[in-house]
Every structure is written in structure tokens, then in C-alpha cells.
């Protein structure tokens, strides 16, 4: 099943790449508006990558926006050695990494109480009103699970965080991840293995049984 998903992603990636090259050629020819096609095609993926790495939706939108503008400015440097989407996502990964460092620095300066609610990717973790509606309860449970999973991702160092996001959340192939991060495929496999193990341990501690 996982293998099928990977192939699907790969096929989708190749298809998008062809369309990207056409748009890239138009932009390089002076058609600025053609860049809008690229933005609309990749905005969701770009924001999600940034969101899962930074853990903050507003920050993620800013990072993705900066990444698109940066990509437009450096478009001439894209030589087509990799897929355009790979090149584009490598930019948002770099900016996400930098933004995460700034956020950590900012947070370390802020004094926090142990009683303060911990901000997570899913938003506020403050108490929500109880409900007898089974659907609402299930949704609350799923939301709690997502919050816990994101919390475990956030607990990883950034080099492990980005590989697990790219592989297990976004579904990229090892070679694509290696290309985006500029790493050897073996290094990517090793990091993914360690990242999964860390998240497994984290979830076990939080949930008790997986």
C-alpha cells in the first residue's frame, strides 16, 4: 500500500514538473503573470511543508510567500537538473529552517510559566467545551491525536523533523528528499529511520500504547 502511494506521488510529481517547465519558460520570457500558475499549483504543498516544520500556520504562510518571491528572483539559476518542484521545495525548506531558528530564539527570550498552555500546530490546547455529540467527541479525539503527533514532530531536531515531514506527511521519495536537502540517499534513510523511532517513542510515552 505504501509502495503504491509512493508511485502515485512520483507519477504526480513528473506530471506537474512538465507543466512547471512550461510556466517557467514563459516567466523567463518576460511573462510575470505566468508565475501565478506556479504559485497556484504549489501553494498548498509549500504552506504544508512550512507548517509542519515551523508548527505555526501564520509563520508558514509568510515563509511560503517569501519562498515564492525568492524563487521568482532566482528563477534564472534553475538549470533543470532536478524537477522544478524539487528546486522550489528546497527553497521553502531552507526558509523554514531559518524561520524555526528565529522562532526558537524568540521563544527562549520569552519567560514562560510551566502552567501556560503549550502552543501546538493544531492551535490552542486550552480546554474546549464538553459535548455529548458522538461526532464531536470523535473529532475532539482525532484533534487531540493530531496535536500529540505534531507535538512529537516538534520535539525533533530540525534535520529529523524535515525528513519525517517530507517522507511520512508529504509522501516524497527518498531521492527527492535527498535532492531537496542536498544529502546522500543513505543519509536520508538513516535520518528517516531515527526520526520514526523517536516519534514512536514519543507517542508511546504520551498515549501509553500504540
Amino acid at each position: 500500500m505504501t509502495l503504491e502511494l509512493s508511485n502515485k506521488v512520483e507519477a504526480r510529481g513528473r506530471s506537474v514538473a512538465d507543466e512547471d517547465l512550461s510556466a517557467v519558460a514563459r516567466v523567463l520570457g518576460g511573462d510575470v503573470e505566468a508565475f501565478g500558475d506556479i504559485v497556484r499549483r504549489h501553494e498548498r504543498r509549500m504552506i504544508n511543508i512550512a507548517y509542519r516544520i515551523t508548527g505555526n500556520f501564520e509563520e508558514a504562510c509568510e515563509v511560503a510567500q517569501d519562498a515564492f518571491v525568492s524563487a521568482y528572483g532566482k528563477l534564472k539559476s534553475f538549470k533543470g537538473a532536478s524537477m522544478f518542484s524539487t528546486w522550489l521545495y528546497s527553497i521553502v525548506l531552507n526558509l523554514s529552517r531559518n524561520r524555526l531558528k528565529k522562532m526558537k530564539t524568540r521563544q527562549s527570550r520569552e519567560t514562560r510559566s510551566v502552567d501556560d498552555p503549550v502552543p501546538t500546530a493544531e492551535g490552542s490546547v486550552e480546554a474546549e467545551p464538553a459535548s455529548d455529540d458522538p461526532t464531536a467527541l470523535e473529532e475532539l479525539e482525532r484533534k487531540e491525536v493530531r496535536r500529540q503527533v505534531q507535538g512529537c514532530i516538534d520535539a525533533l531536531d530540525v534535520e529529523f523533523r524535515e525528513v519525517i515531514v517530507l517522507r511520512d506527511v508529504q509522501g516524497f521519495q527518498y531521492d527527492e528528499i535527498a535532492s531537496m536537502l542536498g544529502l546522500a540517499a543513505g543519509t536520508v534513510k538513516s535520518r528517516i529511520s531515527r526520526a520514526r523511532d523517536s516519534v514512536r517513542e514519543c507517542l508511546k510515552k504520551i498515549m501509553g500504547v500504540l
Binding site: 501565478g36 501553494e43 515564492f68 528572483g73 482525532r142 527518498y174 534513510k189 529511520s193 514512536r200 500504540l210
Partner: protein, 337 residues
Amino acid sequence: MACPFMKEKLSEYLDGTLPAEDREYVEEHLASCEDCSRTLAELKATLERLGTLGEVQPPPWFAEKVMRDVREGAGKNGILRWLFYPLHIKLPAEALAVALVAVVSVYLFHAMSPEMSVKQAAVAEKQDVVTEQPEAGFAATDAFSLPEDENAQPFAPAGAETSTEDEGLANEEIMEPSPEVAAPQMRIEREKQTLSEQAKVADSEFKTHEHANLLKDKQITGEYKGEAPAEKGMVLKKEASETMTEATAPDARFSVVVEDEAFARHEIESAIMELGGKIITREGEPDNVMWCELAADELDNLVEHVKQAGEVKDFKYEAAGERISVEIELLEEEAAP
């Protein structure tokens, strides 16, 4: 806890990326290792949990906001690229342009500075001429009186009635003398003073009109005839000299014995103005000598007016035209012979 050598293989086994040989080895190991089997189950559950995260949707304004930034960036990049890129060509060219502007600025500064000093000198000369009027006690109606607002037009003489044909042109040239004119202009001033002194000597000795006219001709047409007409800066100075030279050879002259020289001067000036005459200022003239210009028909009336101020003596007159120049010497009674 999984066996250490199995950790990475379990992850790849889940992804289905293990080679067939490794996959068989892992499966054989899992059949015999409970810890690794449990770890594999937990890893599967972990991946399922990770799969529940789903995707967030981009804000509806996102693409438009990005494109707005891209368009603005495209404009800036265009200007910056036009100004600076390629750097290895544009920067040296811009540095060269800055150096060129600096050199031209320095050159213009040096080229303009003599003109500025000439203008200052012209103002100083004009002020020297004007200051003689109060000393002579005349009203500021002469050819070289300055306007009331002297600072407003420092180079524009107010004597619009100065009877020189080239006055307007001369004024313009005085306002903007070229460096080439400056040197001859100063030389002319020196020569004019010399000639004026010569004329004064001739006047004081009352030599003949021929001698005075000879001086006048020399001054007007002599050495200056050879000067280029374009040097209009000299014209005004020459006109000033003519006016004074005409006065050095009066058509009429007389002395007046008065009790109070200042009072008598005021009375005579009033009479001259009433008769439509014009008081003339002369450089280097004794304080007790007045010069004027008026219609020949009015000379008798002037003498009648002057007689009211004092006794008229030594009257001399030679008819010379409709307008004549008159020299009046004021003698106080005790100084009169």
C-alpha cells in the same frame, strides 16, 4: 526494543524499499524476534498517526498576495538590474561617471571664480562713483545714482535717463561681464582716470576749447576706437567719461559771491531743476564748483535766480547749441577777492 541492526531495516521494510534478499532476512528475523515484531507494529501505528495529520488549506488571498509581491519585486529588480547589472560593467562605468562629474565641477568652479570677482569689482567701482554725489551735495538724480533697493539689483544702474544709446546693452554686459572683458575694463578705468586728470588740469588753466575738445576726442575716439565693439562692458565707462569730459569744457561759467555756501548751493540746485536743467557730478572737482546742463535759452533765467543768492562775477558764455554746460563757482564773501 528492536535489535540495533534491525532498526533501519525495519523502517525501509515498511517503505517497501528493501532489496529482496534483505526483505527475506528481515522477515525470517521477525518470525523469531518478538521485540522486533512489536517495534515493527509500533512503527506501523506511528506512520498511521503521522498520516492523520492531513493538510492545511492555503488562505484564499495567498496566491494574489504572492503575485503582488512578485510584481513589485519584478519592478525593483528591473530598476536595480538596469542600474547595476552586470556589475563588472556598470560599477566601473558609474565610478567613471562620478569622477567625470567631479572633474567638471572643479573646472567650472575655477572657471567661474574670476567672473564672480569681476562682478564684485564692478559693484565696488559703481559705489565709488555714487559716493561722490553726497559729497557734492547733489540730489540723486544723476546718471549713476543707484536704485533705492541697491541689494536687489547690484549691477543695474538706475540712471535710465543717461543719454547713451548703448546704455541698455551696456547694463546687460555689466551684469554679466565675461572674463575676457574684465582685464580691458579695468585698464580702461585706469586710463579714464588719467585722462580725467588731464582734462581737469586743462580745465583749471582755462585753456582754449580746442585743447579741451582735443582731449575729448582723444578720450572718446582715441585709444578706444581700436577696441572690439563686442566689449560692451567698456561702453558704459566710456559714456561716463564723455559726460564728465563735456563738463570739463563749459559753454558758460561764472562765479557767485555768497554768504552761506551751503544755502546758496541749495538755492542754485533748485533753480537749475526748475529750469529743466540737470546737475552734473564731476570727479575730483573742488567742493565749491557746481556743474549743470540746461537749455541755452534758460541761461539768463538761471543767472537771474543765482543773483538772488549772491553777486555774479566773471560771467563768460560762448554759444554752443541748444543745450549748454555751465560751471558755477561758489565764493564765500570773506574768501572773495
